[in-house]
């Protein structure tokens, strides 16, 4: 039985080591439901440690699509949200889950596609015209299909085009992958397809293959990031005080400067906009 006893001793040791750690770190930490774009672009990795160093409050980031992030917060499983879908945010606030919304930064969306550009849309600045052309050419297009902020914008663009492509209506060039931004870019790279991406994730994405930006600079492709506090009446368990400190820091001069200083490949990924919301 020696082997089993050794194993048991090892397991008990490890169990105590991990549970101890968990209980210890509980006090000064809040949970932030945020979006995959902010995590995958690397912004939160440089931003949040600065806040933690100043205040001692550590932030546990759950990176989900905006739809899922708001749902997580609505269930009471987060203390603060940082997302990018104004319509979904309006609904969240109207249902009484949160408020005191502040915009912290903006950047833009781009449409990326294969260098070969089978739909001949590259170089344009009109997203709706490009989508119309892609649909008419039956060129492959990857959709997130995950109710994220990016997905919501894509659906709004198709509505504006007057055509919601779907497999059900025979559009087999339209690939709904049901995944995050990175998964969609991996899929687009793998099948030489077009897709809509936020610029932050696109710039920091490591597997671009032969994808490049085909459409940018359309005013309809603006991407706003808002921070929202939970409503204490509906969510009395949420840690409102440290959450408010984080919100105030993000819109403060220090926080805004830190956001603006985040550069990848010589490009500013997020433009601070707390003072002048876009």
């Amino acid at each position: 039985m020696t082997a089993l006893r050794h194993l048991a001793a090892l397991l008990v040791g490890v169990l105590f080591a991990t549970s101890g750690d968990g209980a210890h770190a509980q006090s000064q930490a809040i949970v932030m439901a945020s979006t995959t774009s902010l995590q995958d672009s690397g912004l939160l990795d440089v931003l949040l440690p600065k806040f933690t160093a100043e205040t001692g409050v550590s932030i546990r980031v759950i990176a989900q699509g905006t739809g899922q992030a708001l749902a997580t917060a609505a269930r009471g499983d987060a203390d603060i949200v940082l997302v990018h879908d104004p319509e979904a945010e309006d609904k969240f606030i109207a249902e009484g889950h949160g408020g005191e919304r502040r915009q912290i930064a903006w950047n833009d969306f781009v449409i990326v596609g294969p260098a070969a550009d089978p739909a001949h849309v590259a170089g344009g600045h009109d997203a709706l015209a490009a989508l119309r052309t892609i649909a008419a050419a039956h060129a492959s297009f990857v959709s997130r299909g995950d109710k994220s902020g990016t997905d919501a914008l894509e659906k709004r663009l198709w509505r504006a085009v007057g055509r919601q492509p779907s497999l059900a209506s025979g559009d087999n060039w339209y690939r709904d992958i049901g995944g995050g931004m990175g998964a969609a870019l991996n899929a687009a790279a793998g099948m030489s397809a077009y897709t809509l991406s936020d610029r932050g994730t696109w710039l920091s994405f490591g597997n671009k293959a032969d994808l490049k930006i085909v459409i940018e600079g359309d005013p309809g492709l603006i991407n706003r990031y808002d921070v929202i506090l939970l409503d204490p009446k509906k969510h009395p368990d949420a840690k409102l005080e440290p959450a408010r400190r984080l919100r105030d820091w993000l819109v403060s001069e220090t926080g805004q400067a830190a956001i603006g200083a985040y550069v990848k490949q010589g490009q500013t990924l997020f433009h601070p906009s707390a003072a002048q919301p876009k």
């Binding site: 020696t2 080591a17 546990r60």
Partner: protein, 222 residues
């Protein structure tokens, strides 16, 4: 490759490895505590519903991790019945999820090992005056190498699992990020070679754990 070495050399990576091992070894330990008596009892006792339980536990071998994750998420969420425990998005929730996944594996394999021995030696043990209950320690001792295999199968399930812990752990940097969720994250960032490199590290760790357990077993046999 510079990405790979700077990642693997960082303190953050050491934490990720330790958390992966901590969570999956804890879950394996709990699944032995629960599954070993369960499997042994199913092997030696005869009671109503026993056959059903055996079929049930064997069916749970195919339990989909993402469903276990979702069910636990709903139970542990603040809006759920055990929300007051505040376990969601903690390592504790991950241990719980993986225990649910590993326990049927341990129980089913222990049941098979002990049942075979009970068929062969049950008569002899009873002639010596042992009851079914008192035979269990003897049978477990005889089946120990197969029980170690059962434990390793449980460990294999937990260390490689990503669906359940991603849902209940949240893949929080420095807190609930494990090897598998880090690999999923790097894949989504498009850092495919880094993700693959981490995958090989994970396989290496898994091999090391199995080798250690077998080395302990070999030492015992000497």
């Amino acid at each position: 490759m510079t990405d790979f070495w700077s990642t693997v050399g960082s303190g953050e990576f050491a934490r990720i490895v330790l958390l992966s091992l901590g969570v999956s070894l804890s879950a394996t330990g709990l699944s032995i505590v629960l599954g070993l008596p369960m499997g042994a009892a199913l092997a030696v006792f005869r009671f109503r519903g026993r056959r059903f339980l055996i079929v049930f536990i064997n069916a749970l071998l195919g339990l989909p991790p993402v469903v276990v994750g979702l069910a636990l998420y709903l139970v542990l969420s603040r809006a759920g019945p055990f929300g007051a425990l505040r376990l969601l998005f903690t390592p504790g929730a991950m241990v719980l999820a993986q225990t649910v996944l590993a326990t049927p594996i341990v129980a089913a394999l222990v049941h098979r090992a002990v049942a075979d021995l009970w068929d062969d030696y049950g008569g002899a043990l009873r002639v010596d005056g042992a009851t079914a209950l008192r035979s269990i320690p003897t049978l477990v001792a005889m089946a120990r190498m197969r029980i170690v295999t059962a434990a390793l199968a449980g460990f294999g399930r937990t260390i490689s699992e990503v669906g359940a812990i991603l849902v209940v752990g949240g893949n929080i940097a420095g807190y609930t990020r494990t090897m598998t969720t880090a690999i999923a994250l790097e894949t989504s960032k498009g850092n495919l070679s880094l993700a693959l490199g981490l995958g090989f590290v994970l396989i290496g760790i898994s091999v090391a754990v199995s080798a250690t357990v077998f080395a302990l077993g070999a030492e015992e046999r000497r």
